[in-house]
């Protein structure tokens, strides 16, 4: 399958297979007017199968969100058809309004206007906890 190469834009590569749609949603890419390509189950020498997202414009990405969702991701910035930057997101110290607290006893369940904030409490095991009730974030 061939997708047009992009001239100026971002390639989010090495997304765990099946993860692209979640990322698309969390990054709010549906709000972009430029073309966005989602490639699912691409063959990868390293990963077997992977997903890729290509965005036909250089936009501000929330790297914290990327790092939280899938720290294995690679981000490539393309300008004038050349890759000018390549990096891996790191695990963010905290993420805001990316995940919702699932604890029914948490104050966020009754006070809707509160930001849902999770902080990294165990880097090794990638554990995030709600700053209000300390419940761990549940991963899919």
């Amino acid at each position: 399958m061939i997708i047009d190469e992009i001239h100026n834009g971002i390639v989010i590569d090495h997304i765990r297979a099946g993860g692209a749609m979640e990322l698309y949603r969390i990054l709010g890419l549906e709000e972009l007017s430029c073309s966005v390509a989602i490639i699912k189950n691409a063959t990868s020498s390293k990963m077997g199968k992977k997903d890729i997202i290509k965005i036909d414009e250089v936009i501000d990405l929330d790297l914290d969100v990327l790092g939280y969702v899938d720290p294995g991701i690679t981000v490539n910035i393309i300008r004038e058809g050349e890759r000018v930057q390549k990096f891996k997101p790191t695990l963010p110290e905290r993420v805001t309004n990316v995940i919702k607290c699932k604890n029914p006893r948490c104050i966020t369940t009754t006070e809707q206007e509160l930001d849902h904030i999770f902080k990294l409490t165990d880097r090794e095991n990638r554990v995030y906890r709600c700053i209000y009730c300390d419940s761990p974030a549940k991963r899919k």
């Binding site: 006893r105 948490c106 104050i107 209000y132």
Partner: protein, 308 residues
């Protein structure tokens, strides 16, 4: 501006300082009688907890301060749907410090992000209750003279008992601590306490289902309530409940200087006959709770210990 939401918000050195203040208050209460003159404590109790509220109120009065507030959500604007954030911003205009109890976990944290005065968490659901832990630590240090090199037994409901979890977290920062976790299989300590707290500390622990077997080595015995509703069936509850009741007989093998603690209220897990034993410290613990709340109020208001 400091608040106290979780016992771990305080360093062991700060807790040591609060304990020193409490000792000093006990030694010379008159020196503290006017330190909070013209200061006001607001007790915002979105769920009733009479004993905790009375402890805060007594603490503020003994410092010469005054108290205002409400004792249940129905008598507050929360019943009209006001948010915690709005309530504390309003109350910040009237009070110098707020003690807040709320059924939802994290509500005092939300309050501390919005209030312009210090917030003390007076219990948020099953989550934190740091001033209870301060009362526990004060009782342990006053009875044993130290917070390190202790064998501390926790008995009863270790799964849902938030006071147990907080005290384990606080004590595990000291050296030479051994925990003996005594409970039925159904009510063992949750995995996250084992993984997040105990695994990262020098403290050692053993788990057992026998209070009798553990008794001889304990310096501290922390009793908790085993509640009927924690069991799937009545038969299990009936079978187990008596194993975790402290009686004078069971104390026969305990060390003479062991201290028995309980966060109260008790139902039947400590026989009334134990109350006369010199090792029974649970009513002293209530009193110590008041002194620690006094020390905490002073600390958060930035009021120094009076010179000797």
């Amino acid at each position: 501006m400091r608040s106290l939401i979780d016992i771990l918000d305080l360093t062991p050195a700060e807790i040591g300082d609060l304990l020193d203040t409490a000792d000093d208050i006990i030694a010379r209460p008159d020196a503290y009688a006017h330190l909070c003159d013209r200061k006001k404590l607001a007790t915002l109790f979105f769920e009733p907890s009479t004993r905790t509220r009375l402890s805060f109120e007594a603490a503020m009065y003994e410092l010469g301060g005054q108290v205002l507030g409400f004792s249940e959500a129905s008598s507050s604007s929360a019943s009209k749907g006001e948010s915690v954030s709005d309530t504390v911003q309003v109350v910040s205009c009237y009070a110098d410090i707020i003690a807040m109890r709320h059924p939802k976990e994290g509500a005092p944290m939300v309050a501390s992000m919005k209030a312009s005065v210090p917030i003390i968490n007076a219990g948020d659901g099953g989550h934190n209750h740091p001033t209870q832990t301060l009362a526990d630590l004060c009782t342990i240090r006053r009875q044993m003279g130290r917070l390190d090199n202790l064998t501390v037994g926790f008995c009863g409901d270790l799964k849902f008992g938030r006071t147990v979890h907080s005290l384990i977290s606080a004590l595990s920062r000291h050296t030479g601590i051994k925990f003996v976790l005594i409970s039925p299989d159904e009510l063992r300590i949750p995995t996250y306490i084992r993984d997040d707290v105990l695994a990262h500390s020098d403290a050692t622990y053993v788990e057992t289902d026998s209070l009798e077997a553990a008794m001889p080595e304990l310096d501290i015995l922390y009793m908790t309530r085993v509640q009927r509703e924690r069991f799937f069936n009545e038969a299990d509850y009936i079978r187990l409940k008596d194993s975790y009741i402290l009686t004078p007989d069971k104390l026969a093998t305990a060390k003479p200087e062991m201290a028995i603690l309980h966060p109260l209220p008790r139902v039947n897990e400590i026989a009334v006959a134990v109350d006369n034993d010199p090792r029974a410290c649970y009513f002293k613990q209530v009193l110590n709770g008041k002194y620690m709340r006094m020390a905490l109020i002073l600390m958060l208001l930035g009021i120094e210990r009076p010179a000797k």
